[in-house]
Amino acid sequence: MKFVFADSLDFVDPAYDFIADRNGAGRTIHRDDQFPHEFLDTSPYDGILVSRGIVGDALIPGKYTEAQLMRFRREGARRFLRYSREQFPDSMMMGDCGAFTYRNMPEPPYRAQDTVEFYGDGDFSHGCSPDHLIFDFDDQDAERSEKEIPEDIRIRFEITQQNAAEFLREAKSLGRRFVPMGVIQGWSAPSMAQAALNLAKMGYVYLAIGGTVPLRIEQIRRALAAIREVLPKQVRLHLLGFGKIEHLADLERYGVTSFDTTSPLVRAFKDSRKNYWARSKAGELSYYTAIRIPQATENNRLKVKALQGRLDQEEARQLEATALNGVRRLACREIDVEDALDAVMAYWEKLNWNDEASPSKRVQALDRQRRIYAQTLQDRPWEGCDCRVCREGGVEALIFRNSNRNKRRGMHNLHVFYKHLQDFRADAV
């Protein structure tokens, strides 16, 4: 089972100076930055997924600048991401349309022909047909037939199928090196199975299941079971945007060949608790909460307070410096956990001061947070990891602060997750 990482320009500056909090001298964006497969000692994934929606074009502005977008189209994904076939043999370079970015439009802005052009420019090894998201998913034993569902859902289903048929024809121009993937969308397990069967009949040998992001694991299981039941064994399956990575065994059981996710990276800064990942001796994933010490003059919440005159920026900068210093001195074993926590919580209190809350609520919130942070600081998880992030940055990777720390922590998580997956695969064989 292959793990494909969905990229959205996730790189870090290897020369970032944590103490001065700035990029290396003369750093040029992209050129001097490193992607996870460059920064870590070994690549933490088996392939990369790039969405048209992230790259952007005239129809949808993406995350790339205009110059980066034009360069991507000129050089192709592998050169742009510095993820060459030679260096990463057998890796997948997969494209999709990023259906989530145009979910609110009546139909996808992309056609089969221009999608094939995008995959051709990008020199992708795999590419998905242009699909349209369906959000409803029926409960078990309450599945609606095609006649019972609202028209806009039926239209989304038909557009996805129609595009897949056109896409398969157009994709022939890309030659045999390119593997077209038909995307499955449906409102229920049976309708997804029907979609899968239609795609297999068209001639697809690799299918991608879309629209699973909002689904519960139980719903995903039902969909997978129904699809597998109707599909010839040799047809491979990819799960698009699979965030429930604690349930790898389910993918294995239903013969999923590959899946993509950004979860290990984004949870480093989007999850409220599970920011830094570790593995127990028994091979279970466990999680730590990163210590939030935002930049006093750049944090939006603090800026708003300063604008209203409710926060003295000079004082906030002082508390910020003391908190950073506390965590660093703890890492060097110069002070104990309680002293470090005092410094961290003094700033946290300023940052999270809620005028509405009663004094007792405030004390409670403060206590709760202190216990969470105590766990991180007591266990010193950064000392137990040998990845480059932890080796070079140490405790800096546990500080929730700016992109260079947060994405590094995400790369560490990718490293841990990939190890976890490799062990899982070894067990599964």
């Binding site: 700035r22 003369g26 750093r27 040029t28 964006i29 992209h30 050129r31 952007g56 074009d57 005239a58 502005p61 600048t65 205009e66 110059a67 980066q68 977008l69 034009m70 360069r71 189209r73 000129r74 056609r111 221009d114 052009e117 420019d121 930049q295 003059t297 750049e298 800026k303 300063a306 604008l307 209203q308 005159g309 409710r310 920026q313 000079e314």
Partner: protein, 365 residues
């Protein structure tokens, strides 16, 4: 006798207003911190406005700090501090018969810093970050009776107009050692200047600058094209060396535009952005990407080779009449604007046309 709570400074006191005494002196940042504070605008519980400063701007402070860390750094413009109380100015003895030019300032800091920073808070904060520095700044101050007068002065002092961007960009090439944000622009400005004034340049005299108002193509547009290439195109090969950019880089771009002028002469000669989109922002920036693509696909570096590549676009453009066909969408020639979506649309279209045409035709020839 001087008490530890009274600070004294020898000052120069120019003869200005009788009612608002003005003075200037030098002090270290940590001294300034003792007698002046930053009071930001905000409202108290009853909603009354107090203070007037805006919050710190982190990026701005960092740029100043980076600069101040350099050995040759100077900071000639003073930090301005106002006092409404706790400060008094005594006239010193007269020198060469002129009364009251020098004096002595006494500031009472027993109840905290009584002065208000009226101008220079970002500079002041950056200075304070340079721990233990003995760097001295100039302080200019005045004493006024009331807060209202102080706020009036604050508005007057801070209501200056920034330099026009165009003039700043023109001055940039003369200056070295700028913050990175400006130095990318500076490289592009340097090349723009060369393209506009160098003999033999395809764009000679054509670029509209503060000092060349008769130009047709806006300098910021040419700079955008150059910055795109320096960051993500062929010019990034020379990005670390201004001399190479000025020599080979400028020549490369000039050769390309010689070819453009030749191949699309009817859309170029005597045209303005209003009469031809080729010399308009959207057209110039899109042609920058065409330059990259022709170079990558055919290896073109001189005007003849560029022209051979560009001929594939002949008859497929609508620079000054007709309409563009972007997939299913049709756009009148003058419907294109200098906005990101239109620039991307046009760029992708032209590059795609080239990609379709060049491999096929090159095989034939």
């Amino acid at each position: 006798m001087s008490s530890p709570h009274i600070l004294h400074f020898d000052v120069v006191a120019p003869r200005q207003s009788e009612s608002l005494p003005v003075f200037t002196f030098a002090a270290r940042a940590r001294d300034v911190e003792r007698f002046a504070r930053i009071e930001r605008a905000g409202r108290d519980d009853s909603g009354t406005l107090r203070g007037f400063q805006r919050p710190q701007i982190a990026g701005h402070i960092r740029e100043i700090r980076d600069y101040l860390e350099k050995p040759g750094a100077i900071l000639p413009n003073p930090i301005i501090v106002a006092f409404t109380h706790s400060a008094s100015l005594e006239s010193g003895p007269s020198h060469d018969g002129v009364e009251g030019r020098f004096g002595r300032l006494a500031i009472d800091v027993s109840n905290g810093a009584p002065g208000w920073i009226v101008d220079g808070q970002q500079r002041f904060t950056a200075l304070r970050d340079l721990h233990g520095s003995d760097f001295e700044v100039l302080v200019s101050g005045f004493i006024c009776d009331c807060l209202e007068e102080l706020q009036k002065q604050f508005i007057l002092i801070n209501n200056t107009r920034p330099l026009p961007k165009a003039l700043v960009y023109e001055l940039l090439p003369q200056v070295s050692d700028l913050p990175p944000r400006m130095s990318n622009r500076s490289q592009a400005a340097l090349m723009t200047e060369a393209l506009n004034y160098r003999e033999g340049s395809a764009l000679r005299g054509m670029i509209k600058q503060q000092t060349n108002p008769k130009g047709i193509i806006r300098d910021t547009v040419i700079q955008r094209l150059l910055m795109n290439s320096i960051s993500d195109g062929v010019l990034r090969l020379y990005a670390d060396d201004d001399r190479l950019l000025l020599d080979r880089g400028v020549n490369f771009v000039s050769e390309f535009f010689h070819a453009v002028r030749h191949v699309f002469s009817e859309d170029w000669e005597d045209k303005t952005p209003k009469t031809s989109r080729l010399v308009h922002g959207a057209g110039i920036i899109a042609m920058g990407y065409v330059m990259e693509t022709v170079h990558v696909l055919t290896g073109a570096e001189d005007r003849d080779a560029f022209a051979r590549g560009l001929r594939h676009l002949k008859g497929r453009t609508a620079w000054s009449s007709g309409e563009w066909a972007f997939g299913d969408e049709r756009r009148r020639w003058n419907g294109l604007q200098n906005v990101p979506a239109d620039i991307r649309q046009l760029s992708l279209h032209l590059v795609q046309e080239l990609r379709r045409a060049i491999p096929r035709n090159e095989e034939v020839s």
